[in-house]
Structures are given as structure tokens and as C-alpha cells.
């Protein structure tokens, strides 16, 4: 196996393999921000390709992009806005779950806030679908609750 040319940690790259078999490179200092990855490196060594069974080639590059920016200390509100701009709600959900799996705290916090922002004015039905949650209220219970909470229903978008 070829040794990395540079021996300093900061420019060393780690190979990550997604659940669907693709390999991506990431700098060791960025990998440190993902505790799951770092734990695997600690266990398996940093010359081996680290397998990430629950992360796939669709989302890993995006995550790497985020942390690449992070290690240069440049994550701004504008960057974050741009980062999620073209993602739909389900794509953000996938990234959010991946960030959780990778134990990538900064990204996780950012994405959970983004999901909250997106759900803010959504309907109850949309939220149920999004979280895969069943409505277990009886029709009477639900209408009573809605009546009590009528003030909170103002400004809600209809289901998209």
C-alpha cells in the first residue's frame, strides 16, 4: 500500500468508503470533526479505507464539502444558506441522519436548525409524513386539541 507523501497530520488524507462502494478522500483534520470516523481511524489505523456502511455516495461529498470549509474556519451564515439552498426537505433529512451517524456535531446542529426552520410553517399532516408518524388521536381528541390550539394554526401553509 502506498504511503502518503506527506507525513504531517494536517495534510494527510483519509479514504472513506460509502455503503454503496464509492471512495472519497478527506483531510485528516476534517475527519477529526466526525467522531465516528475518528473512532474508526483510531481502531483501524489511518492507512486503511474507512468503511461507512450507513452513508452513501449521494450525501458524503456534501458532508465533506462542509467540513472542508470548516477546517479553514470559514463557515458563515451565507455559506450555510448556500449549502442548503438547493436541497429539498428529504435531502436535508438524509444529510441530517448521516451527520448523526458520523457524529459530526456542528453539521448536525446546523441541519437540525434548518429542518426546524423548514417545518416551522408546515401543516401537522406534513410533519407526520416527514417523521413517519401515525396520527393516534381519535377524531374527537384531535378536533378538541386543534380548537385549543387554534391560535397556533394561523399562518400555516396548506400541505404541499
Amino acid at each position: 500500500m502506498a504511503q502518503e507523501a506527506s507525513s504531517s497530520t494536517s495534510s494527510k488524507t483519509i479514504s472513506l468508503k460509502t455503503g454503496d462502494g464509492e471512495i472519497f478522500e478527506i483531510e485528516a483534520s476534517a475527519a477529526k470533526q466526525m467522531k465516528t470516523v475518528q473512532r474508526l481511524i483510531d481502531d483501524l489505523g489511518d492507512d486503511i479505507t474507512i468503511p461507512l456502511h450507513n452513508v452513501f455516495s449521494k450525501e458524503l461529498p456534501k458532508i465533506i464539502e462542509y467540513y472542508k470549509k470548516d477546517i479553514t474556519g470559514e463557515i458563515t451564515k451565507d455559506f450555510e444558506a448556500e449549502f442548503v439552498k438547493d436541497l429539498n426537505d428529504d435531502e436535508v433529512k438524509v444529510l441530517f441522519l448521516a451527520a448523526n451517524y458520523l457524529d459530526a456535531n456542528k453539521l448536525f446542529e446546523f441541519l437540525s436548525q434548518n429542518i426546524a426552520d423548514r417545518l416551522e410553517s408546515k401543516s401537522v399532516e406534513y410533519v407526520r409524513k416527514y417523521f413517519g408518524v401515525e396520527n393516534d388521536f381519535t377524531p374527537e381528541e384531535e378536533s378538541k386539541l386543534r380548537e385549543e390550539r387554534a391560535w397556533s394554526f394561523r399562518g400555516i401553509k396548506e400541505d404541499e
Partner: protein
């Protein structure tokens, strides 16, 4: 050669597990949070759980963004017969919102029951609500704790000589009426001796 698993994103669950749901809920504004109590029973129980609310409140207070830029002025209008409360917000306080008074049953205390310095939950009493806006009131300092106001009503007649205070959160519409026993020998100065506060240790509001 390694066989790639045929699992695609679709098979790996895109279901957000319960423990992660909280991290999203904590970041919602209070209006949405209350709204989503209707999602399902477990959410409804979770959102009113006091531990959840404590963490939620801590999140809210530790946010360093515009929540605090959004301070409002409370405008107390004393028209002759009715009293109105308005919240003014925005950069130049141009957004004026009239706060809807809570439908609070404010009634003379039940005869014979002297409630001394205790909180009487009268939501179960079948008393028609008085029009709170008909009475003059004072807002006790500090004006607002976590969005809750404490209003004092010195003028509401009370056969047991109780002072009425209402703890009221205009955002969530929740309220609690407190009847305090006026101590006779302090009758001249009692009005100024109440303080309203929040106890971090006991995680509750305190009246002194």
C-alpha cells in the same frame, strides 16, 4: 471482489428516530411547537413534559440571534371603561399587536375559603369568565420572565379580601390566577411588596 450491498437510500430507513426528533423540536419557535402537539399522542405528551420544556427554554435563552433583537414594548391603554394591552415590536416598534385578554374567571373567592399565599387553580371552577380587560391592573416588575407577565388587580372586589394576580403568557395563552391573602396590618403598603421571579433551581416561578 466485494459485492456492494444492494441497499439503496430507500432501504436504509430515512426515518428520524425519536431521540433525534427532540433536537429538531428544541429549535422550533414556540408557536410551531405548540401547534405540533397535534401530531400524535407521544409528541403531545413530550411537548408538555416539564423536562422537555426546561431544555427548550434553555435553548431559546442561549440563542444569540434576533430573539432578543425583537424586544417589545407593552403599551397599557387606559381608556375609560376598558383596558387594553398592546405589544409593539420591530425596529421602530411599528408592529402593534393588541394582546387578547385571557378568558379568566375572576370572581370573589368562595366564601369561607381563605387561601393564604397559595396558588388556586380555578380552571376547574365553573365560573363564567370576567372580562379581564374591564379592570385596571398593574404589571409587576420584572415585566416579563420567559414571556410570562404577572398582572395585579387591586380593584376587583373580593369578599375574602384576596388580591388577585394573574400569571399570563400572551404567546401561549396560558394563565394562572393567584389569590393572595392581604395581610391586614400591611394593608397600606401591601401593594408594593410583591415580587415576581423565577427560581432556576426549582424550575418554577416564585412570588415573594
Amino acid at each position: 471482489m466485494e459485492i456492494s450491498p444492494t441497499t439503496s437510500n430507500a432501504k436504509v430507513s430515512n426515518h428520524i428516530p425519536d431521540d433525534l426528533v427532540n433536537s429538531i423540536l428544541y429549535k422550533l419557535p414556540i408557536k410551531s411547537l405548540k401547534h405540533f402537539e397535534c401530531v400524535c399522542k407521544s409528541w403531545s405528551h413530550l411537548i408538555i413534559d416539564s423536562y422537555f420544556m426546561t431544555v427548550y427554554r434553555n435553548y431559546l435563552l442561549s440563542k444569540d440571534h434576533s430573539f432578543y433583537d425583537d424586544t417589545s414594548i407593552l403599551l397599557h391603554s387606559t381608556k375609560k371603561v376598558k383596558y387594553d394591552l398592546y405589544s409593539l415590536s420591530g425596529e421602530r416598534f411599528e408592529n402593534k399587536v393588541k394582546l387578547d385578554w385571557p378568558k379568566v374567571p375572576l370572581h370573589p373567592s368562595v366564601r369561607g375559603v381563605k387561601i393564604k399565599h397559595s396558588i388556586h387553580d380555578i380552571s376547574k371552577d365553573n365560573v363564567p369568565p370576567s372580562r379581564v380587560g374591564d379592570f385596571s391592573f398593574e404589571i409587576l416588575r420584572p415585566i416579563s420572565i420567559n414571556g410570562t407577565l404577572c398582572l395585579e388587580y387591586p380593584e376587583i372586589p373580593d369578599i375574602n379580601d384576596h388580591t388577585k394576580l394573574i400569571l399570563w403568557n400572551p404567546t401561549t395563552k396560558e394563565f394562572k390566577v393567584i389569590y393572595l391573602h392581604k395581610s391586614n396590618h400591611l394593608s397600606d403598603v401591601w401593594a408594593h411588596h410583591y415580587q415576581f421571579g423565577y427560581d432556576h433551581v426549582k424550575n418554577d416561578y416564585k412570588m415573594i
